[in-house]
Every structure is written in C-alpha cells, then in structure tokens.
Assembly symmetry: C2
Homo-oligomer: 389 residues x 2
C-alpha cells in the first residue's frame, strides 16, 4: 500500500490534493449554548482503512496547525507539519494505519470558523461565530469518525493543543479510544499561557485593520497585529537553549551593529520572518478563537475538580510524552496527568524526552521521541491484533 | 538626618519634588559615533553627601524605571520603585548615605531622549535621536557624579538593566567604584531576551499612531502598540509560579466564562491594566531606544571576548545577587559573571535568593534579599570607614 498522495513522489512543485469536506446539517450543540448548523468540517486522510476498520489513527493538530499533516500545504507549499513521522515504514506507518487529520472547528483551512461564510447572512462569520472549546473540536471530529464508519479509534495522538484534544477524547469517549498519546500537553491551560495568548489577542485587536473583527467584509487584514502575535508565541515554542544555540548574539549579514532599529541580530530577522510568513496562511480571528479554546481548557473542572475522575475505569492505553526544555507545557504538567491516570488505575506510560528544542520538539526530528512513539504504538498494535508478524 | 522629601510624611496626595537637571554643553561622544551636545541629564538625590564625599551610592534604574526611586512618581503619584530599601534605617540608609538616581540617557523623565526637543530643530528628536548604549548611559551618569564633586562612589547598585550599568561602571571605572552590586543581571543580553524586546518594538512600530516615530510632532501616540509591548514584557518579569499563585485560572468578577474575548480571567485583566497604566508614563520611542541599548550590551565583546578581562586588577568589592525563579536573567548568567570575576581574582560574593517572584523580585519585599544587601553594604561601609560605631 502506498500513500494516497501521488504528488509526493514527483519532483514537480508540491500541490495539495483535493481535501475532504463533511457538510453537517444537523445542529451541533456547543459548550457556549449555540446550536451550530449547518457547518463544514475539512479533513485529510493518509493510508487505507482496513476491513475491520480497526486501524484508524486520529491525529489532532496544534494551535496553528491544520489537516495537512503529511502533504504540501496548499498555501505555502511547505511539507506537512508531521511528515517526520507519517509515511510508509515511518512511526505512523501509512502502509499499516489509516490516518485522519481534521481541521479544528473554528480553524481557517476549510472547517467552519470566523473566516468562513455564515450561511444565514452570506457574509463572513467574523466575531459572530460562536466561541468554541476543545470539547467542541472533539465533537466535530467525532462526526468525521462516524462519517467514515469507524467505531473505535486505534489511536488518538497529538501535541500541544492536539494533546488537549487527545485528553478530551479519552475522557469523553474512553470506549472509542484504544490508545491515546497526548504529547507536550496539559490538563488545563496555565496562567502564564493564558497571559501569552492574551498578548497575542491584544496585538491583533490593537491593529486598526482588524476592524472590530469585520476585516474580511471590509477587504482588510490585520497583518501586522497577527504577525506580532505570532512572534510573541513563537518565542514560547522554543527553548532559551535552542535560541542560544541557533542564533546566540550573531548578527544578520553584517559585521557590526548598525545603531538602529533594523534587524541587526539573526534572532530578530528570524522572528520577523516567522511573523510575516504566518499571516499568509492564517486568519486573525481564527487565532483569537483557537487561543480562547485553549485558555478555556480545564479537564478537571468538568469532573468536579478531580482530574482522576476524567479517567475512571478507562480501558484506554495512555502514553504521555514531555520534553525537558519545554517551558510552555513543562514536564510537571504531564506528571500531574500521570498522577491522575495512576490514581484512576489507568494503563499509562510516561516518557520525558531529553532535548533542548523546547515545546516544538514534537514537530522536529527527535530520535528518542520517535523511538518512544514507535515502541508504544507497536505494543498497542500487538494488543489490537494489528501486528504485521 | 531625614529624607529631603517633606511630602512623604504628609497624608496629602503625593507630589513630586522639583528634580535636578544637569545641562551639558560639551559634546559627549557616544558609541554610535555621534557627538551629542547640548543635552540634559535629570536626576534625584536622597540623603546628604558627607564632608569626605565618601558616602555616595549611585542607583541605576531598569528599563522602565526612572530617577524617582524613593518618592512619588510625578505622573502616576505612585511610590518610588525602590522605596522598599531606601529610607532612614533601611538597607540604603538615607541617614548615612547620599543616594543618586539618574534618568538614563534616552529615557523619558527629563534626560535627553527621543521624546525631548532637539535644540537644533526645535522639534522632538524622535528617531533622529542617536541610538545609545549602556556605556553611553554610564558616560552620562559619570557627568552627574563629577558635577556633584564626587571622586569615588561608595557603591553602584542596580537590578536588571541597572545591573548592566553597574557592570559597565565597574569595568570602565574600577578606581571610581568602591563596591558594585549587580542584581538579576547578565554580562550580555541573551537571544531569548533580544527576541522578547523585538516583539515589543514590532508591536510599537505596527501601531499606525507611531507614524514612523514622528507621533509627537503629529500630536499622536502609539498607545495600543506600547501597551502590547508592555504586556509581553511584563510576563517575562514574573515567574510561572508567581502567576499561578496570584491568579491561577481565577475568573475576573464572574462565576463562569463568558465565551467571548473580554478579560474572563484575572490574569488577562491584570495584564491589560499593566499595559494601559504604562502608556501614561512612558514614551514609545524611549522604549525602542532603551530596549536596544540592552540588546547591544555584551561586556566581554569590549574585552576581546574574555569577560574576565573586564575586571582584571579591579579593586572593587562585588556582590552579585540572582533569584531562583528569574527566567529572564537566570542564575546561570550571574554564575558566568562570578566565574569571570573569580578568574580575574576580584573580590566577589554571590547569593542566589530562593523566591518564586521571578525577575521583579529585586523590586519587591524579599527579606533574604534585603538581609544580603544589608550585610554586604555594612561590610563595605566598615572597610570604607563609614561604619556608625
């Protein structure tokens, strides 16, 4: 079996496959009380569903990710965000598993969100789109899983906000989740993380081009505000050590500082580039909505404040992974989850990966991380009767 | 002897004393190559210079600090930023020492900077003000010290950017500095810190009210951009633990989240307040200039890359202080300085204070910090012949 993505093997410029879209007419009751209908959920798949429909893996994307996990991005043309681990023979082996990646509700790559058209008005939703939560994202993902005729997911996996979705899936639908891999995640968003998100939102809202959220209708775009939001967030995705190793105090194409406000230092130039590149592919209001969903995430709160209650009698096999230099979702947050899972007598393994790459390590080439994932998934496959030999 | 600030003992609303201003006609050669003249340096003093002129302490302020260290701020009316340690009988005892605090060159509380009028044009300097460095700040401070007839400073002390100035003083003028106390400081600005500063600068420059730096001339003010810059920076001044302890996920005057973009969480409301309050008292261009001066700071670079060479044969007594939860200027940066000072056979003590208050701990009520400072200064006073008994 090969990837269903013929473009990948060609040397011609990358081109996105036509994506899948699920149009839902039946209202979806959201946490905020709004019954959303009709709406669209966009997703991509890799590999093939087996006859037993027992080999499906749901990959949940992070804040600024999307469904293009293992193929060129339709806007940027860049490789998918998880090509490192998806493919034939790779950790998420497309020869053995059927991989699904859903653009989250509130996103901006085809799923209904503030940048899409409100069918009731024919105009962009903007801020009239209902505020969504991680649980709402999971509700939308479940509709896709049902649509594909999948009764049980072999695995739900994701990093950062993806990990929050994994936890929500495991808590709400333990019987549907054979194994769960929350990576660099937490059971709730911390005060510091809410604070960084709020800076990003204020940067967007401070941009006059934001137009109180109606920029699309007015043919404008808060590019500078969104770029600043991205720059601030991007620092939190890296570790101090990684920034020091990559850039230190190196100057950008110059031998001495210029005594001015140009990007004298490489780290400034790099950050500016991160900001500018981001606005091409991301919607500013989506950024508000998705950061808000993360801020609101507090799994224990749904279970009378007792996190262990989220996992009572869970049949799911958990593997938690954290990274030593991740200060956005530090190991201590994963440990809290492990304690709760142990208190609930759940089946859990936990690995802290030694790396200086920070939070973004889950997107990077990190051999120990890959080996851990491979071992866990292989073990689960054996228990699930999916082993190759 | 009492504080020379009669308002402090009254219950009436605080009012600033008239400040001191030193007008300099002789050109000051800056690192960028510009000869600045004429210019003004604003400063405040507390206590009295003794007959030997041997009891002067120079306090160097941080990025957003100013010369109002121990008296109500003339704009906000709030208590000075170091009232915790300045006063009769306090650590920096105004009954015994003559304290001087100089608004840094490039600042916005009276010293020449981008918000002041360029005498050559009669218009605000804006971005035509020369870019300054930490060494330039020290050059200006030295003029004040000379103006006051002080030959040797008993102590130069400061936190954060203030600590950078202390290090520069000790390196450039070892014979003038009897003792030096760099607190929560570093010998150079790290890549991560440059990155955070760049986010702040981009937030300011993204504000259309910034007008390419000419907002004062146009009667405008980039308040929203400056507020976002302050919000981002403020997170770095606190520790994750402090944010968790102070705010956690507590909601702001509401029982449930509102599913919107108001400040649902206390930490959001707090940050917004920090941003809004800051713009009343600080100039956006000054923020650009002073952050740039910090970014450019790299003491070893002035000494062929060997930090120890900055302190060879130094007669100065050093006391370095860091805080366990400070992630902006972590203890490792102070340790590097201690190693260099030891390599130069300098007289150095070093204390890491256990606290969860983060970088801002040097401005807060921190008994172990106070005790450390008191002990060091008392010891130096004895060696200097300034002891009371």
């Amino acid at each position: 079996m090969t990837l269903t993505h013929p473009q990948e093997s060609r040397s011609s410029p990358p081109q996105a496959r036509p994506g899948h879209e699920l149009r839902v007419e039946k209202p979806l009751m959201l946490d905020c009380g709004v019954a959303l209908a009709p709406f669209t959920i966009a997703y991509q798949t890799y590999g093939k569903l087996n006859q037993d429909r027992s080999n499906a893996i749901l990959m949940c994307h992070a804040l600024t990710g999307d469904q293009y996990a293992a193929e060129p991005h339709p806007i940027t043309g860049k490789a998918g965000w998880w090509t490192t681990i998806i493919g034939p023979g790779k950790v998420l082996d497309t020869d053995r598993y059927f991989l699904i990646c859903v653009n989250v509700l509130g996103g901006c790559m085809g799923s209904s969100g503030p940048a899409e058209t409100d069918p009731a008005t024919g105009k962009p939703w903007g801020l009239s789109f209902p505020v969504i939560t991680i649980a709402d994202m999971v509700r939308a993902e479940k509709l896709v899983i049902e649509h594909l005729g999948i009764e049980t997911l072999f695995c739900v996996i994701g990093g950062s906000m993806g990990g929050m979705q994994v936890l929500q899936w495991a808590a709400t639908h333990p019987e549907l989740v054979f194994s769960a891999v929350p990576i660099a995640a937490a059971a709730r968003h911390s005060a510091q993380n809410i604070a960084f998100h709020e800076v990003g939102r204020q940067a967007i809202m401070a941009d006059p081009e934001w137009c109180a959220g109606n920029y699309l209708e007015q043919g404008r775009k808060p590019e500078r505000g969104l770029a600043v939001a991205r720059m601030a967030a991007h620092i939190t995705y890296l570790s101090e050590q990684a920034l020091h190793r990559k850039f230190g105090r190196s100057l950008q194409n110059r031998k001495a500082v210029t005594y001015g406000f140009d990007a004298d230092f490489q780290v400034e130039s790099y950050l500016r580039h991160q900001g500018i590149a981001f606005v091409d592919r991301f919607d500013a209001n989506s950024y508000l909505y998705i950061t808000r969903a993360m801020d609101y995430f507090d799994l224990a709160a749904e279970y009378e404040g007792v996190l262990a209650n989220a996992f009572r009698n869970s049949p799911t096999r958990f593997c938690l992974i954290s990274f030593t230099s991740d200060w956005l979702f530090p190991t201590s947050e994963s440990r809290e989850l492990v304690q709760a899972l142990n208190a609930a007598a759940a089946n859990v393994s936990f690995v802290e990966i030694e790396t200086d790459k920070g939070h973004d390590a889950f997107l990077l080439d990190e051999p120990e991380f890959f080996a851990t994932l491979r071992g866990f998934i292989e073990g689960c496959a054996r228990h699930r009767g999916l082993a190759t030999e």
